[in-house]
């Protein structure tokens, strides 16, 4: 045992992923070489995953302020005021590496982790989203990964009783070696009952609650997510953790119950780097010290060392700073829920992180060294030479397709555009009975019980655009998520992001990252939406091949009046169909280009942020005035696909449309181009005049046609039976998944 308290060498430090300079700095500050336990603590806290050492400087550029913002980045999750004495608490987190190694458990524990981040703050989680990216279907492992990840997301969310109300799924060969799992949770909290992870009060007890500590995932999330895959990820497998949603459900209810009793000062979940990060970060935020007695830690296995206890990533655990004398309240609540609650340490004022074991001090580190003084790099960045945005797409060399019906069917059959029902029907999206708009429309809408209000949620990112131009791609991710929320009748009020990229030590990757940050910044500034939380996932790279840049964003919108919620499908025969916005002659980065012409090139769609905002305001105004029967944004697949979705995506029977498209631009761009800032509305004819008033001279209003019959007719190019369109669109994913062999038993019986 005492071995762990002997000073370590530089060699050990490098094995722990620290650099020579980092180690030298540590020795200088400590005035000695750290011991093995201290090295463990410092190496995880200084890992990319925990310290954000490559991204910190760039993240500072994001707009994080706003009149509604109660808590920006830096806490477990962001908090935004929605009035009525209530606030929404939300965040998105990646669990990419774990779910590539073990899809079911990796995805499940990802959901468990983000849920804890939200209820840690006193909020009752009411909705989950999940953003998923997989390789192409011809890759052998893709089906296995989809199956495991979807089962894992559902397995955890369904069991703990939080509805999964939305998300996105994309397929691209660029993810063959690294799939992405980004999980989002939103909770509701009373503004006077928000709990922060800020230790205070010398002598206050530090209490450990939840599951016992095992050897799970030592150096799991932290190190897994801080290095590339070597190809045989198997070697990292032993660190995979198993989730226990049942215990987390008890933990959730116990924490929310305890938080009514003002017995606690601060609380934080034990996520990556478990006991270490939770204790160090709480002490750090409060400018305090913390003194842990490791003999008190509830352990699951015999002979666990201090090193293992401090670095274990066992799930479903929380650390609490209670008010002195209120320990018994904490114990009472947790024993009611059959959970452990043990005093494991105290808050001190010496600014030190101390851990004792068997009467011996095994760690003593100044907390600032672990938190604020963690390294922050200004890594070199450089636009890649082969930046594909440059070879501008020569439209005149692109042959026009013969049969536009066939192209439309092909697009509806593309896994990226097809219905995602195969995925979301495996999720309970109803529990807690707030789901006003369930998966299948542009955004999910939930009511806020006890008020007239609702929240709308959408998560988006088109990584193909980001690959061609990360700056524009990231802007489009933000405006599309906003557009989805607006089409559902809500005003965008806050955003969280999950920035998935390759190895930041490569200048090209850092350039992608920096450009994406600028894109999010500029879009948020124009839309007036603050970024209140987020997460960075680097090293999504296998054998030197990085994923396409994937800055996923989730937008939260507010409906002052839930009755103004809107859905994307046509509702009444005879309604007129109107398009807000302009169609430009552009096909760069479109699904059509990739599918029909096997090209991923050109510039992503043109985006004018000011115009986008005007379009969204007109749409929102029209919805609020009750002029609108349906609203759908156009995204992948362009106008034709968007119109088809309006016809076939409703819960009821299909609805047809009779459309006349005039326009001087080439027909494929007209139908399948992905021009931004376009929204399709259906409405009673009598409201058209008022809509034009609202639109004024800034926003073009085109009457495309009307809702009619059971066929989608876009004269003179397309004439298709909507039943057939629906069949193709709804069976595309199940058909590809059916042939799945294996994994049947991987999910817990």
């Amino acid at each position: 045992m005492s071995k762990q308290t002997d000073p370590v060498s530089e060699r050990d430090a490098i094995d722990h992923g620290l650099t020579t300079d980092e180690f030298a700095h540590i020795c200088k500050v400590l005035g000695r070489n750290p011991n093995m336990v201290e090295l463990g603590v410092l190496s995880v806290m200084w890992s990319e995953h925990c310290s954000y050492k490559s991204s910190r400087r760039h993240l500072k550029r994001l707009p994080t302020k706003g009149p509604r913002v109660l808590q920006g980045p830096g806490e477990n999750a962001g908090v935004i005021d929605i009035g009525d004495g209530l606030a929404v608490v939300f965040k998105m987190e990646s669990h990419n590496h774990p779910s590539f190694v073990e899809p079911y458990q990796g995805a499940a524990t990802g959901v468990g982790g983000i849920l804890r981040d939200v209820f840690t703050m006193g909020a009752r989680p009411i909705a989950n989203l999940n953003s998923l990216r997989f390789g192409s279907f011809d890759n052998a492992r893709t089906r296995f990964l989809i199956n495991g990840v979807v089962r894992g997301v559902g397995g955890y969310g369904n069991c703990i009783g939080v509805p999964t109300v939305g998300g996105e799924v994309y397929f691209d060969a660029g993810y063959n070696g690294n799939n992405l799992v980004n999980a989002f949770t939103l909770g509701i909290v009373r503004t006077d009952r928000i709990f922060l992870a800020k230790a205070a009060g010398i002598g206050n007890p530090v209490m450990y609650v939840g599951s016992k500590t095992g050897r799970d995932g030592i150096h799991g999330a932290s190190l897994l997510a801080s290095a590339e895959f070597s190809g045989e990820a198997e070697v990292k497998r032993p660190t995979v953790q198993v989730g226990d949603p049942f215990t987390e459900k008890l933990l959730l209810e116990a924490c929310l119950e305890l938080m009514q009793l003002d017995a606690i000062v601060a609380i934080q979940d034990m996520g990556a780097a478990g006991l270490t990060s939770s204790s160090v970060e709480m002490a750090g935020r409060g400018g305090m010290g913390i003194d842990l007695d490791l003999d008190k830690i509830p352990v699951r296995e015999v002979g666990m060392t201090p090193y293992e206890m401090l670095l274990s990533e066992s799930q479903e655990r929380m650390l609490i700073v209670a008010h002195r004398g209120k320990e018994d309240i904490v114990e009472r609540v947790f024993s009611k829920w059959d959970l452990d609650a043990v005093v494991v340490g105290t808050v001190t004022d010496d600014g030190l992180f101390r851990a004792r074991f068997h009467g011996e001090e095994v760690a003593c580190i100044p907390i600032p060294l672990v938190t604020d003084e963690a390294p922050a790099y200004d890594r070199p960045l450089e636009a890649p030479a082969d930046n594909q945005a440059n070879p501008l797409l020569a439209l005149d060399q692109l042959p026009l397709p013969g049969d536009y019906n066939q192209v439309l069917l092909k697009l509806l059959d593309s896994p990226n555009i097809a219905s995602k029902e195969w995925v979301y029907r495996q999720y309970d999206y109803l529990v807690r009975s707030n789901s006003i708009v369930v998966p299948g429309s542009d955004a999910a809408v939930l009511r806020v019980k006890g008020t007239q209000k609702g929240v709308a949620l959408s998560v988006d990112c088109n990584s193909r655009y980001c690959q061609l131009d990360p700056y524009v791609g990231a802007m489009i991710a933000v405006v599309e998520s906003a557009r989805n929320v607006v089409c559902s009748g809500a005003e965008p009020i806050g955003l969280t992001d999950c920035l998935n990229f390759g190895n930041p030590e490569k200048p090209a990757i850092m350039w992608h990252f920096s450009e994406a940050i600028n894109g999010i910044r500029d879009a948020c500034n124009v839309l007036g939406v603050p970024v209140v939380s987020g997460n960075v996932s680097f090293y999504n790279e296998t054998e030197g091949r990085p994923i396409p840049p994937t800055p996923t964003v989730a937008m939260v919108g507010l409906l002052e009046n839930i009755d103004h919620h809107m859905t994307q499908w046509f509702r009444n025969e005879g309604d007129i169909i109107v398009m807000l916005g302009r169609t430009r002659e552009e096909l760069g980065g479109s699904e059509y280009l990739a599918l029909q012409h096997k090209k991923v090139t050109g510039a992503p769609p043109w985006i004018d942020l000011a115009f986008e905002k005007q379009v969204q305001q007109v749409c929102l105004g029209a919805i609020r005035e009750g002029l609108v029967q349906s609203a759908h944004d156009t995204s992948e697949g362009g106008l034709a696909v968007a119109l088809a979705e309006c016809c076939i995506s409703g819960p009821g029977p299909v609805m047809g449309a009779a459309i006349e498209l005039e326009g001087s631009i080439r027909p494929d761009a007209l139908l399948f181009g992905e021009s931004q800032s376009r929204i399709i509305l259906s409405m009673r004819r009598r409201h058209l005049a008022r809509l034009k008033e609202l639109a004024g001279t800034d926003v073009p209003v085109h009457v495309l046609g009307e809702v009619r019959g059971r066929r989608l007719v876009i004269a003179p190019l397309i004439d298709a039976d909507c039943e057939q369109l629906r069949r193709v669109w709804t069976t595309a994913l199940p058909r590809r998944m059916e042939s799945e062999a294996g994994e049947v038993l991987a999910a817990p019986a």
Binding site: Q105, V242, R300, E301, G742, L745, A746, A749
Partner: protein, 80 residues
Amino acid sequence: MRARVFITPKQGVLDPQGKAVEHSLHSLGFKDVHDVRIGKYVELVLEATDRQGAEQQTDEMCRKLLANGVIEDYRFELTE
């Protein structure tokens, strides 16, 4: 030939099922029960007649499908 396969959670890997079942066995009065681990039990019939071939095949089935090598161990027995 008949194969009986036993799949158990790897040592050290959390076993939420076992944990919950142990807890309820205690509350049912079976106080002195511990180390409850819950796994899967698979029975199947193979055409193969030679023992060696059958062993190879079963082992391959376990690795490919029946057991999740990341978190589970497996053992099997063959009987005529």
